[in-house]
């Protein structure tokens, strides 16, 4: 009797482990349009409304816990923000004057027909799921293809860039955050305009990095990094220009290059409400997104603002 029980126990364990390994191998080996991915998308479609309902019902509990954390965090930041506010007020007066001149120049050179936020239709979404482990920099949101959300659409919140959409279902979508190893963003140092590609720092999931900046690039700690909108003159990035990404936290000199570390502005571990920038049909971003989505995963992910998507996008848009 005992032997029979032990045999059955071992057989079940072996079967479950084997099934897990088969799933793992099949999932890893198939394309994003494969059967298991489709099952996952189908499941997302089913659970998204349930998650949304549960999320809404349990929001007060989450807010209560969040309130304690936010109160401590806010107290710590208050003094810093006051100082920053004074400095920014002084800067604002100067900037208003600069902006007026800038707009005149834009009109003069007819450069305002490029990629603008007017090409996008923001869709507000609630975050309804987030993994606990740090190996997945993704969140699930409650808006999907029925709201116009498509793969590769940029996602932002009040602080800045969050990431891009990587999977969609009718009533839900998965967003890969900018700290995900599969996402790269064309960016520039806001103060100097120096361009570069922003990647997550390997091994430090909360830090971003710009590698291979020329050694003479003017950049210092505290500078802001924003999306550049283009990575070359050949075509647009998937991310519109000027979205804040982060603040430079350190600058490493490794002649002949500089490596810049960036702390993301958005609190990526406490996201609640985000905006998906869905592209208006026929606009340049829509074409760039469509072409990038058609690329193999390893190319399209690299080219969230990357060369391949950009070049193909420009070809696709006739540029």
């Amino acid at each position: 009797m005992h032997d029979k029980t032990a045999r059955r126990r071992r057989a079940v364990l072996v079967a479950l482990v084997a099934l897990s390994l088969i799933l793992l191998t099949a999932y890893f080996g198939e394309s994003p349009n494969g059967r298991l991915h489709s099952v996952q998308r189908g499941f997302l479609t089913v659970v998204s409304p349930i998650q949304k309902g549960a999320n809404a019902a349990l929001k007060p509990v989450r807010n209560l816990f969040g309130w304690f954390g936010n109160a401590l965090h806010a107290k710590h930041q208050l003094a810093e923000v006051r100082k920053q506010n004074n400095r920014l007020r002084a800067e604002l007066l100067t900037r208003i004057d600069d902006e007026r001149g800038y707009k005149q120049l834009l009109r003069l050179y007819k450069l305002d027909g490029g990629l603008h936020l007017s090409d996008y239709r923001p869709v507000t979404a609630e975050v309804i799921g987030q993994p606990a482990n740090l190996w997945y920099s993704t969140v699930n949101i409650d808006k999907g293809s029925s709201a116009g959300v498509q793969v590769n659409d940029p996602v932002v919140d009040g602080e800045g860039l969050i990431g891009k959409v990587t999977t969609t279902a009718p009533d839900g979508a998965q967003v890969s955050l900018i700290t995900d190893s599969a996402v790269a963003v064309a960016a520039m140092i806001n103060e100097t305009g120096a361009p570069g590609m922003v990647y997550p720092k390997v091994g430090e999931p909360n830090t971003l990095v710009i590698r291979y900046l020329p050694a003479n690039t003017p950049v210092s700690v505290g500078n802001y990094v924003v999306t550049s909108g283009t990575i070359s003159s050949k075509g647009p990035s998937l991310f519109p220009r000027g979205i804040p990404i982060g603040q430079v936290s350190s600058v490493g000199e490794e002649a002949p290059y500089k490596t810049v570390e960036i702390h993301p502005l958005a609190n990526l571990r406490g996201l609640e409400t985000v905006q998906v920038l869905t592209a208006a049909p026929g606009s340049a971003p829509a074409q760039a997104s469509r072409v990038a989505a058609a690329l193999p995963p390893e190319q399209s992910s690299e080219a969230a603002g990357g060369t391949n998507a950009s070049q193909l996008a420009s070809a696709g848009s006739g540029g």
Partner: protein, 192 residues
């Protein structure tokens, strides 16, 4: 747990699995403490194993793991594999040692959290994810295990309270009670 699980146990375990996955993904993961979120799922898997045995632990581990992978659109089979081992391991501990100490759930919780986090790291590195071991990763694992250990006892209490009414009485527990009664230790008369 008896060799043939009754319907009430299965229903309670299934409800527990669904609730814990939604609670984890919808709330707990969004409240980071020291930059790390508590992970209730390996704790629940381990405690189901600790209470119901290795077979149930492995099956529940596989189920909860699959649910997590499907809900969060993660690599399918990865969490199932790790949680199957956690559930089975906790169940075997109960079957071989029958630990009765009050701190057992604390140690089992810590071991489950550590197995889960280290297991993820090893599997992800084996699958070629570009993230070698770093101090930050180590810090997150240590903080994560510490947080899970802190909540292990309350989680054990809830899981135990939820499952105990539907479980058949453990023969070993019955023998222990009888022995204590006949030696006077737990006699209701001795309390009078």
């Amino acid at each position: 747990m008896s060799s043939q699980p009754n319907g009430a146990v299965v229903a309670r375990v299934a409800a527990l699995a669904v609730v814990v996955v939604f609670l984890q993904t919808g709330i707990v993961s969004e409240v980071p403490i020291f930059g790390v979120a508590i992970d209730l799922t390996p704790l629940v898997v381990a405690f189901v194993g600790l209470q119901c045995g290795s077979l149930a632990g492995a099956v529940v581990g596989f189920g909860i793991g699959l649910l997590v992978d499907l809900t969060l659109v993660q690599t399918l089979g990865l969490t199932s594999l790790i949680f199957t081992m956690i559930g089975y391991g906790a169940g075997r501990l109960r079957e071989l040692r029958d630990p009765r100490a009050a701190l057992t759930p604390l140690l089992v919780g810590a071991a489950a959290a550590a197995t889960s986090m280290i297991g993820y790291s090893v599997m992800e590195i084996a699958l070629g994810v570009d993230a070698p071991v770093s101090l930050e990763l180590l810090r997150q694992i240590i903080v994560g295990v510490a947080l899970d250990t802190v909540v292990a006892l309350p989680v054990w209490a809830l899981v135990h309270r939820w499952l105990a009414p539907s479980l058949p009485e453990d023969p070993r527990q019955r023998r222990r009670s009888r022995r204590a009664y006949t030696t006077g230790g737990l006699s209701p008369l001795s309390k009078a």
